[in-house]
């Protein structure tokens, strides 16, 4: 978020401009200091990015270098005509929408509780951060164990409570696989919202709440009129960032279901991986990646020009 801020603030931290004589020397120093970072970004981000666009227009196969040459829109057609594409797109939208909504709700609830005058806040804060520290690959495996149909503790408890009559294979059934992975993703990602929202909550001036309370505003009304507007800027940044991060997340779904059963939890990143690493069709993988990138760019513009410029802060 600090990163996003930078572009908008136009280097507000810049000090008073030095005399013109030193300018050239400083420019050289700045260029020198930034050169390693710039070189890495150029070689490992800008070049691959251009490469994805380039490859998406060419036939490219990892095992068969003979198939090459200009493909035009063929790769895009391959993707769009793939019968898995539309379900994967729908899965991606479901997974992203539900994840971000759930994460925000949980994150806000935890942040509000932590912002109250409580004892041992640091301890509670430390505990809430735990899911975020566990690597996705390990969190995924751990939840597979909890949800195991034969020996999993959650199934046993659900049966004991009478909520279900027999243990279910939550990750192995077409109708529950995606939702289950989504819930686990919410569990793992909400602490980031909590910490960010907590910081914003602590920046709300107490006097505002006190004045409103004296004027007779109840808890709910003060929350709606004072707290929520103060959270608006942080919330927008959090939500937009996580829409992008969630839509392209590969790890969780790959670790827990590999997109199965019967592609029921396959999202677009999993499809990109399948094209490239299982079908070895680099062209199609790059075409799908390019389309995803277009979507990402669109999100970025909506965020930057729509929300930010129209007084989102």
């Amino acid at each position: 978020m600090a990163a996003l801020d930078f572009a908008a603030s136009d280097g507000a931290a810049a000090v008073a401009r030095p005399a013109a004589g030193r300018q050239a020397r400083l420019r050289r120093a700045a260029a020198l200091f930034l050169a390693p970072a710039a070189a890495l970004m150029l070689v490992l981000v800008a070049f691959p990015l251009a490469d994805v666009l380039w490859q998406s227009l060419h036939y490219a196969n990892l095992v068969d270098p003979a198939t090459s040459g200009f493909a035009g829109a063929d790769n895009y057609r391959t993707v769009l005509e793939d019968e898995d594409f539309l379900p994967a797109l729908w899965n991606t939208l479901t997974w992203t929408g539900l994840s971000v909504a759930g994460e925000y709700a949980l994150g806000l609830a935890a942040a509000l509780a932590l912002a109250q005058p409580i004892r041992a806040r640091a301890v509670f804060r430390g505990i809430v951060v735990v899911p975020w520290v566990i690597p996705i690959a390990i969190a995924g495996l751990n939840w597979m164990w909890l949800l195991n149909p034969d020996y999993g503790v959650l199934n046993a408890w659900l049966v004991d409570l009478g909520l279900i009559d027999h243990p279910r294979d939550w990750l192995g059934q077409v109708d529950t696989a995606l939702l289950t992975v989504t819930l686990v993703n919410i569990w793992r990602s909400f602490p980031f919202y909590t910490i960010s929202l907590l910081a914003a909550l602590q920046a709300v001036p107490r006097e505002l709440h006190e004045a409103a309370a004296i004027d007779g505003a109840g808890t709910l009304r003060r929350f709606l009129v004072i707290t929520l507007p103060h959270l608006k800027a942080v919330s927008l940044t959090l939500v937009f960032m996580h829409i992008v991060w969630t839509a392209i997340n590969f790890d969780f779904i790959w670790v827990m279901t590999q997109g199965g059963p019967l592609n029921a939890s396959q999202t677009l990143p999993v499809m990109i991986y399948r094209y490239a690493m299982q079908d070895f069709d680099v062209g199609a993988a790059c075409a799908l990646a390019s389309m995803s990138m277009g979507f990402m760019a669109a999100m970025f513009f909506v965020y930057f020009y729509g929300v930010r410029r129209r007084g989102g802060r």
């Binding site: 978020m1 600090a2 996003l4 801020d5 930078f6 572009a7 507000a12 931290a13 810049a14 000090v15 401009r17 420019r27 700045a30 930034l34 970072a37 710039a38 890495l40 970004m41 490992l44 981000v45 990015l49 490469d51 994805v52 609830a109 935890a110 932590l114 409580i118 640091a122 509670f124 804060r125 430390g126 505990i127 809430v128 951060v129 735990v130 520290v133 566990i134 690597p135 690959a137 495996l141 909890l146 020996y151 569990w187 960010s196 910081a199 920046a203 006190e210 309370a213 004296i214 942080v234 992008v244 392209i248 790959w254 990143p269 990109i272 991986y273 680099v282 990646a289 990402m296 970025f300």
Partner: protein, 281 residues
């Protein structure tokens, strides 16, 4: 606050109840992992699982440490995460110093803007070209492949976090040092780095944890067991047909605990720097 006592009591109870629910939610999966790791196979494979362990055992841990490649993966993760953290910090210190002091320069705006945009580009989209690039360079299944990729992804974030700390160091200090004949590099080494040490430590931990936890590139760019890192390595314990869950959970505990301990110890700094960014954003 003008609230009466009963209202305050209700609010207090509601707050602690919410926090209790969150604590269970956040800690339970981790505790169950630990619990499973300490169970003998018969209790792991029980259809009536309980928290209490009739015959606790360290056999799972012994098996992971002695009879598997766990320590090799652990060492590989240490090497890759350590080296990429080190390189990231070195490159980022210079970059963020430039952005902090000379942010108005065209070159700073250009590189800074590129870094912001790069934050929006997800790794999975670059997976294919980076795989092909590493293959051309002959770096597949080497530490360098991961070190270079992790550096690239962490440099923008670390640079902006460090910039926040550098911005807080008054320009007067630098001017005074310059008058005393201290060179720019001398200033960075003698004054800037010691003064922002807590910030550098926190960002370093952040970068280390990110590299330690990364899965996808470790999974794709490394095919050699001798170079495999921990997160993809753990997947090996999950056999394709039969999974020894006790073993898998023991390996998970051993992979998580060192990082979690470091994180809990240093979370104060990290939360502060994250919060600083969040409030501004």
């Amino acid at each position: 606050m003008v609230v009466n006592r009963s209202q305050r009591l209700i609010a207090g109870v509601a707050t602690y109840a919410t926090l209790a629910v969150f604590c269970v939610l956040c800690l339970f999966p981790f505790l169950w992992m630990l619990d499973t790791a300490l169970k003998p196979p018969a209790e792991v494979m029980s259809s009536r699982p309980t928290f209490l362990i009739a015959a606790p055992t360290l056999k799972n841990f012994a098996a992971v440490l002695l009879d598997s490649d766990f320590l090799v993966y652990f060492r590989n993760s240490l090497i890759v995460a350590g080296a990429s953290t080190l390189f990231t910090l070195v490159v980022s210190v210079f970059a963020s110093y430039a952005l902090s002091r000379w942010g108005y320069q065209t070159v700073s705006r250009l590189v800074g803007g590129a870094m912001v945009v790069s934050q929006m580009i997800p790794g999975v989209l670059l997976l294919v070209p980076l795989y092909v690039l590493m293959r051309h360079l002959g770096l597949l299944s080497t530490y360098w492949a991961l070190i270079i990729v992790y550096c690239t992804f962490m440099i923008p974030l670390v640079t902006f976090m460090l910039k926040g700390f550098f911005d807080g160091i008054p320009i007067e200090l630098e001017e005074a040092a310059e008058i005393d004949g201290c060179s720019r590099l001398g200033f960075i080494r003698r004054i800037l780095l010691p003064l922002s040490a807590p910030g550098i430590l926190a960002t370093g931990v952040f970068a280390f944890v990110a590299a330690w936890n990364e899965f996808m590139f470790g999974y794709v760019l490394i095919n050699d067991d001798a170079r495999r890192t921990l997160t993809p390595g753990i997947m090996i314990f999950k056999g394709s047909h039969q999974t020894d869950w006790g073993l898998l959970m023991a390996a998970s505990v051993l992979a998580v605990v060192p990082v979690a301990l470091g994180f809990v110890y240093l979370q104060r700094f990290l939360v502060e720097s994250l919060s600083a960014g969040a409030v501004k954003g």
